[in-house]
């Protein structure tokens, strides 16, 4: 049975239809437009037509190429820093200009530049998509020449050198960045690209410590096209792999190979692979390796090794590095003069083993001495480095640009921790890491959050006033409807005191780093906690001095004050404390700052909106930053025990809360 629609409904439906139609069209259209802007950029740069580039004819007659690499180059003498301003939308980010891609030919029509490789186009595309990109050369800090120099074998070094000088923004290479994976060629195999580049920065794979201009060039990994298609199996954590060491490089020198064969014959946990002699034709050579005649799938086989050996071949950089890292196989570098990829920022000692080439005969012993826990950590680190900085062309490109960007804007440079600590790990360093015991004579500031209980507040002030180490009392008056009592109504006390009228009734006001606080130590105390004695507070302070990156608090038993004016016990007694209520607790004034300005996402607002949990938030903050648990102080006088002379005791729970 259908409902009969009245004519008026028809109209409504029609209008609705029309509207949604318009909306859809608008949406598609808008989409289309935004896409086309991107497309436009790709079009201008000729990225979309990389296989069929427009031809630019250039005469190289009589053109002198730039000088060879200037080995004295550093950022301060070969780099024009004045080009690198910071713009408002992307502060502290340098701008990278890409020339439109082109096929360069000389007058006779012969190619000067090689056809573009897939990787070079991907690199171009990644930069064009990134925040670094600018289409305005006058605004640019870095220029990327439109010539694919990834593999020197494919270049006429001299001609490309000449061509570079003809580029509009070359200026002897200043502020130009050249990417190169494979430098040099037979028989000398130079370790840096031999295209004359003078002052240009080289992002190169396979630098030696003679050709590498440290803090100027960037050492990058040699990209392996093999890793793209490989699907690796999941592995259970802590699994011990079949082989301690695998050597899978095919082109190592017979001298090395001989040493390895000696090793293989004496160690059953060393797998020595070589290229296969007889493989069916349909299997591409690079996907197989052989142990004698036994065929293994490559690079999958690397997953069976804990460590993977990397020796220098004709060049120093090895694409096998990426294949090993992808397989979670810890690289062992025996490559004496090699500058490890991204070693300016990455701590390779956490993700690899470095030995001298002449220690090769001893390698198995060196590896066996590494404890299992260390191997587990290293493997995790390898996986982290790989996925963050190596995994594909964009990752390598962006890491390179980030390194240069950090040099240009050193005050916002990525820290060691950010580069090297996996974000998912529980890594934590106390923000107060210097082992300083707070000076006794500095004392502490008592911060009292008050609302309207004037009587107990006065009582509290009077009792705190007697604590020897007190320096100052700060009353935070959180009531906007009722003014705090006039000055002459307050009890007369010895110490300095001050009232701060807050502008809104927010609990977080108690955790504000007021300018009045001059001491490291802060005692946050509620206005209704009057049963703590002078000795107890003094003792709490003395304990806090020794553990000043933690919260030191008193057990709740001491400060639950019922509305009916009677003391109440909290029923919830537990053995593990992870939260010390800040109804009465000592902590470092620095945490006030971190609470107010650095607390992650919305917690502070939640607390202020709900008028609750500010103490829990503070406890979380402190344990989150320091990785340390709070300490509960329990003064006791009624028990006679041998150690009572120490003045008291305190409790500690062993659960570290590291909430992330």
């Amino acid at each position: 049975m259908s409902v009969k629609l009245k004519p008026v409904h028809h109209k409504v439906i029609l209008v609705l239809l029309l509207l949604s139609g318009v909306a859809l069209i608008f949406k598609f259209n808008w989409n289309y437009q935004s896409k086309s802007r991107e497309e436009f950029r790709m079009e201008t740069l000729h990225i979309n037509s990389a296989h069929d580039l427009p031809v630019t004819q250039i005469s190289l007659d009589g053109i002198q190429p730039s000088d060879k690499a200037d080995l004295n180059c550093k950022m301060y003498n070969c780099f024009d820093i004045y080009r690198c301003g910071s713009d408002e939308n992307h502060p502290n980010k340098m701008k990278v200009f890409l020339h439109p891609l082109s096929q360069y030919t000389d007058e006779s029509g012969a190619s000067i530049t090689p056809s573009l490789s897939k990787e070079f186009v991907e690199m171009y595309y990644a930069i064009a998509q990134s925040d670094y990109y600018t289409g305005d050369p006058d605004n640019a800090c870095i220029f990327i020449p439109p010539v694919d120099m990834l593999n020197q074998n494919r270049l006429n070094v001299q001609k490309v050198g000449q061509l570079l000088t003809k580029l509009p923004h070359w200026t002897r290479g200043t502020n130009n960045l050249i990417f190169n994976f494979l430098p040099g060629n037979s028989p000398d195999y130079s370790t840096a690209i031999e295209v004359p580049h003078n002052k240009a920065i080289i992002a190169g794979g396979g630098f030696s410590h003679w050709t590498y201009r440290s803090t100027f060039d960037v050492s990058i990994p040699v990209y392996s096209p093999l890793v793209k298609g490989v699907k690796l199996q999941q592995e259970t954590d802590g699994l011990i792999r079949k082989w301690l060491l695998i050597s899978s490089q095919t082109n190592i020198h017979p001298e090395f190979r001989q040493e390895l064969e000696t090793l293989a014959s004496s160690s059953s946990d060393f797998l020595l692979l070589d290229k296969c002699r007889n493989v069916p034709e349909d299997v591409p050579l690079q996907f197989t390796r052989c142990k004698n005649d036994e065929q293994k799938k490559y690079p999958e086989i690397l997953q069976e090794g804990t460590f993977c050996l990397l020796l220098p071949t004709s060049r120093l950089g090895q694409s096998a590095l990426m294949e090993s890292m992808q397989a979670g196989c810890i690289p062992v570098f025996a490559c004496d003069t090699y500058i490890l990829p991204f070693s300016e920022v990455l701590d390779w000692s956490r993700a690899s083993v470095l030995i001298r080439e002449d220690s090769l005969p001893d390698i198995m012993n060196i590896l066996r001495r590494i404890p299992h826990e260390q191997v587990v950590l290293m493997k995790k680190q390898v996986e982290f480095l790989y996925t963050s900085y190596f995994t594909n062309i964009p990752a390598i490109t962006m890491t390179t640009l980030q390194i240069i960007n950090d040099r240009v804007f050193p005050h916002v440079a990525t820290t060691y921790e950010k580069w090297n600590n996996p974000p998912s790990s529980n890594s934590v360093q106390s923000p107060l890491f210097l082992p300083l015991i707070s000076p006794k004579e500095d004392g502490f500031t008592a911060v009292i959050l008050a609302y309207d209980r004037v009587l107990s507040l006065f009582q509290l002030i009077k009792s705190i006033d007697k604590v020897p180490s007190l320096r100052m009392i700060l009353v935070v008056w959180n009531n906007q409807h009722k003014a705090f009592p006039a000055r002459n109504e307050w009890p007369i006390i010895e110490h300095e005191w001050k009232v701060i009228q807050t502008s809104s009734n927010e609990l977080s006001n108690r955790f504000f780093p007021y300018n009045e606080i001059k001491t490291e130590g802060v005692l946050a105390i509620d206005d209704d906690i009057i049963m703590l004695t002078t000795d107890e507070i003094e003792f709490g302070f003395q304990v806090w001095r020794e553990f000043n990156d933690r919260i030191v608090g008193f057990p709740p038993r001491l400060h639950i004050w019922g509305d009916d004016g009677k003391m109440r016990y909290v029923s919830d007694w537990t053995n593990d404390i992870s939260i010390v209520l800040t109804g009465a607790a000592f902590y470092h004034n620095y945490y006030n700052y971190l609470y107010t300005y650095k607390m992650p996402g919305g917690i502070k607002d939640w607390v202020d909106n709900h008028m609750n949990c500010e103490d829990i938030a503070m406890n979380f903050l402190v344990s989150n930053y320091s990785g340390k648990a709070p300490i509960k102080v329990t003064p006791r006088k009624k028990f006679k025990c041998a150690e009572c002379a120490t003045g008291g005791s305190l409790s500690l729970d062993e659960t570290h809360m590291v909430e992330r």
């Binding site: 259908s2 440290s214 020198h253 974000p423 529980n426 300083l436």
Partner: protein
Amino acid sequence: MQANKRYGLLLSSLILITVIYNGYKWAHQYEADHFANDEYKNADRTKHTALEMVPKQAVQNLLSYSEQDYYESNSEELVPSPTDRHASRTRIYKNRKCRMDTCFDLERCRRTGFKVYVYPDVGEKTSTNFQNILASLRASQYYTSDPEKACLFVPAYDTLDRDHLSADYIHNLGAKISRLKYWNNGKNHIIFNLYSGTWPEYLEDVGFNLGEAILAKASFGDNYYRHGFDISFPLIGKTHPHMQGTQGFLKANYFPPRRKYLLSFKGKRYTYGIGSSTRNALYHIHNGDDIIILTTCKHGKNWQSFSDQKCETDNEEYEKWDYQSLLHNSTFCMVPRGRRLGSFRFLESLQAACIPVVLANGWKLPFDEVIDWSKASLAWEERLLLQVPGILREVQDNRIMLLRQQSQFLWDKYFSSMDVIIRSTLEIIHDRVFPEQARPAFAWNSQPGALYFNSDTAPSSYPFYHGLLGVDAPMKFTAVIQATAPVTSSAAPIVKLLRNLVQSSSCNEIVVLWHCGKPPIPNDRWRVLVPQDGAHEIPIRVIDDQPKTMGRRFLPRQFTTDAILSLDDDVMLNSQEIDFAFDVWRSFPDRIVGFPARSHFWNSSKSKWVYTSKWSNSYSIVLTGAAFIHRYYLKLYSEWLPPSLRKTVDETSNCEDILMNMLVAHVTRLPPVKVTQKKQYKDTSASQPYVNHAGVVSRWSDPRHFAERQTCMQSFEAWFGYMPLISSETRFDPSLYKDNVSVTRKKYPKIEI
């Protein structure tokens, strides 16, 4: 009807399309937002994948860059042999192009181990600094007096000052050095230098042919520095302390961290010549308010003839300010280059916890091969001087807190005395020679510094890096009992102790070091004496230790855990006391956590440190007869401390606990931790001679024993160069210790019974 149906159908399908479309978009959007917001979800990876989506048509016909080259070296004979390569490198890369693998005989070091030989003293004038260098080298654990066994050689000629206008300059040094017996063109030698070159060029030249010697030089410019071969040495004053140096200025971490002045500088201005452009420009950023730049032209003999119109007013203002008080009242201190690249100011600022802002293009900061200076200073491009005030104002308070603390850490660990400077220098070379033993970068740049690094310990097996590496503190411990009394019956104290130990939930293994004159009882007897539940049996390993010296309880043996519970055989501890102490130790794995404690104090009438066993409000020593110690400290005790100190312990059979406590406090700068205990430990500063069950008089009751401990304290202090012990007033109890709640709710009720 038909029309209605059609409308209905059309409408619903339209809605459906919209829903699907928007749903898809939302889902997409959600995913994008989700990843964008969630920093911890490997944002980098998703970012890279997004960037990887190159339009298919752009790359589909393209080859990979290495397509033809994958098997480029099928012809192996084209690959130069490693031997040839090395030979040709060694031929080419000499002298100015030296690197470790071409100019340094590494093979020699592999043969000899890392040993340092110092030539005998020569009859030449020697500065205090250089005397201290030689003294520290000779006291080093790497020192050898046998040149045949040496890996590194140090000439005894004072090479620190090579400015030939200077009084300390030794003439004709080149000839003298080249006549050294093992010189061999400088191979495996190291030359220390603070000043090189002179007016007017200040070339970085030491005035003689270095050949293949490593140059450890202050104010190194990076174009003169041979990568990974030379060492950038700190520039220090003439009176730099030898052993225990001046402490850092920071005594407390006050917040807010900003001091009265944002930035200050007080120093010479050069009106001409090298380095003058930098210092001449500084006044531009002076504002007289929070940026104070003070310069003087008064230096050199005839400064007046070079003075400019600013000099007079500058000089006047300069005299009004005190340099030290500026250092202590500024958040940042400007360290511009002078005639040479480095200046004393750098370390002076560091010590004063004033964050150095370095304006010296090309200066290699001291030990920058290993120290991450970005954590303690700001190096700024000289050309961008005018940006400095703006940049410094942008630096947030939390960053200042980190930079400042790090400045103090670095000062303390690597620069405060000549001794630590020399130790650091040697460790840097050591790690180059043995890269497989090299410290990770974080070991240099986080507490407690790299000088206590032990090459055969994995980073996760240190008591310091659990937080940094995000790993847990050890979950199990090994009990090491030093047994001095024979086991005559099942009532022997050690049997009681063992019975308690096997009930502990965290004990992994028990090692009994048999230090008793009589032979140990057979293994199966232990089984009978200490019956165990078969399912969770804790192995008891008895080692008939030889020789039976006191220090051997700290021998880093093959233990299965990093946590060690060091015990005397007559200790009375129940399993819960042990488990609780272990719980506490897991929070403080870098400290000694134990039961009975002692303290030290300064006796002003005798003006020396004294040891006391009296009850007092504080303690600084936890006795190692019942204490948790990280295995790492056993290694330090046995390998890092000099044999002379260990000998004192072994000869007196005493003081091992004092030495261990001093060692740990020296490394951590923290006091030990005392936990609560049910029963009193055997020695309660008793006046009665105490005879234990076996009829052996306890060593604790011997008055000689106490006197020895006083002597130990003083001789150990002399070696450390200061008193490392630090006092604490706190003791740790379980959470519900003696609280008025039911025993059944308590985790460690047996401590109270």
